[in-house]
Symmetry: C3
Subunit: 208 residues, 3 copies
């Protein structure tokens, strides 16, 4: 039943997808900009951050890797890298990027879970595919840049992705149609991440 | 011939598999505990360390990734992470974990080689798949935690995995049935790793 | 048309492939030698650096991973690691290795793009597969060794791979047969990397 329900709105999803990739690619290119890198490194970081999470997801669920089949995704990353390159640093506001990134995480967590469900992945792994789609690109970017990963900060980030994809899977399981389920869960994930950016919300750490 | 011989004892193997994953997941969650991380990070580290090696193996040999098809593996990692989270630090004994990890390495090295052989991988790459299954989860955990990898220490670790999977492949090649070959090689790998934990055995380093 | 044109010279390509792997494997083993590692770590680094880029390429384009199907590739890496192990450090000339590595990059960038095209990958992603084949092995080696990646240096390295694979795809698109296109582009990529080694050529960095 879930698999039938989720076969919807491919055009909308395709546009959200390109948007999410552009946002993540920009965050990758900006990481290169902060390190005073070359245009080639800008492109590499934009590509890895933009398509990294979706690539790992596609490999894990056994789907053809999306950006290898369709050149528009790679082109989006390269154009984004070039745009960041020609823009003066003062133009970029770290806060603004955080907000874009928050939108990207929310959309991508739902999208990753959705794509996995359409391919018959069970609920629990599908929920995890959502988290992977949303977060792995940024994790690879941090590792390559030699930075402590967002994983190791108490800030709510992976948690917001987990909320979005977990809620989405749960709502589908309760019988909600895919569009309201997706909208609700993406909004919830975005709202949680927004509180982390805005109010510094964090979740409790282990004290032993 | 080898391919026929290795089609045995799937139920036993399935239980060993879940056990190995739980042990590795615990070592991942403990790495998060040592850094005072959140429950979400506990879960992420438990999952990556628990299923990382087997995931890379399945991708390389072209098998469906085991934990994406069967939710029990991911559930095992999450439950393990939660158990570590609710347990006071003083309960965990680094030594005890080393011993569990040693069992995990030995079992997994043999299991990885075995699974690869059943899918027609030649002997030398199959032996390497055993090493990858046993060691890659821990390597990814170290990289994400920003720690020097076990790879760079003279301590016998990868070597024990290589002994277990190499001996297993060799014994099968000499015509031994799969169960005695597996038991013998897992024991040998465990014994070697035990000497490293117990007596500090190391192998000689390059002196140029 | 491109797909027909590129189905050529498999024997030549196979030998170039083994040569490229040996060169990269040597650079991985030397990274282990510089850190005074054990023979097991030598082998691990040789394997990862030697086959890493091609592995990621094969996974991305959905081809069977080359070295899992054919044991000669893994054997080449292990033999290379053993050769580096028995050789005194003074024998190895960092410069000499850079030159071998430059040949490896040029050949591999073209080979990766070529293999992707034969499998129906569009031009832009195929060009990127060339860069990935040439550079990802070295990047993984750097990450595992805890070293700042070549990605973060202004030195021309990824750029040379991008020139080789980009030119190759472009020349095929303009209708050149595969052998002249491959030779020309590999030479161009090698020449550019040579200027970086010899004259310290670099490309401009972002100044904001």
């Amino acid at each position: 039943m879930i698999q039938e329900a989720v076969q919807l709105a491919p055009a909308l999803i395709a546009w959200l997808d390109l948007f999410g990739i552009a946002v993540f690619a920009a965050s990758g290119a900006l990481a290169a900009a902060q390190r005073g890198q070359t245009l080639v490194t800008f492109s590499f970081f934009a590509l890895i951050t933009g398509v990294g999470g979706g690539t790992v997801r596609d490999l894990l669920i056994g789907a053809p890797v999306f950006w290898v089949q369709d050149w528009r995704f790679a082109a989006t990353c390269l154009v984004t890298a070039a745009l960041v390159w020609v823009t003066p640093k003062s133009f970029w506001n770290a806060r603004a990027l955080d907000w874009f990134d928050a939108i990207g995480i929310a959309i991508y967590a739902v999208f990753g879970a959705w794509k996995s469900l359409t391919l018959g992945v069970p609920l629990l792994p599908a929920m995890m595919m959502g988290v992977i789609t949303a977060c792995v690109g940024g994790i690879i970017r941090d590792v390559l840049a030699g930075e402590p990963s967002i994983l190791l900060k108490p800030e709510i980030y992976v948690t917001a992705a987990a909320l979005a994809s977990g809620l989405f899977v749960l709502l589908l399981w309760f019988g909600l149609p895919v569009l309201p389920a997706a909208s609700l869960s993406a909004l919830a994930g975005f709202a949680l991440r927004a509180m982390a950016i805005w109010k510094g919300w964090a979740i409790p750490a282990y004290r032993g």
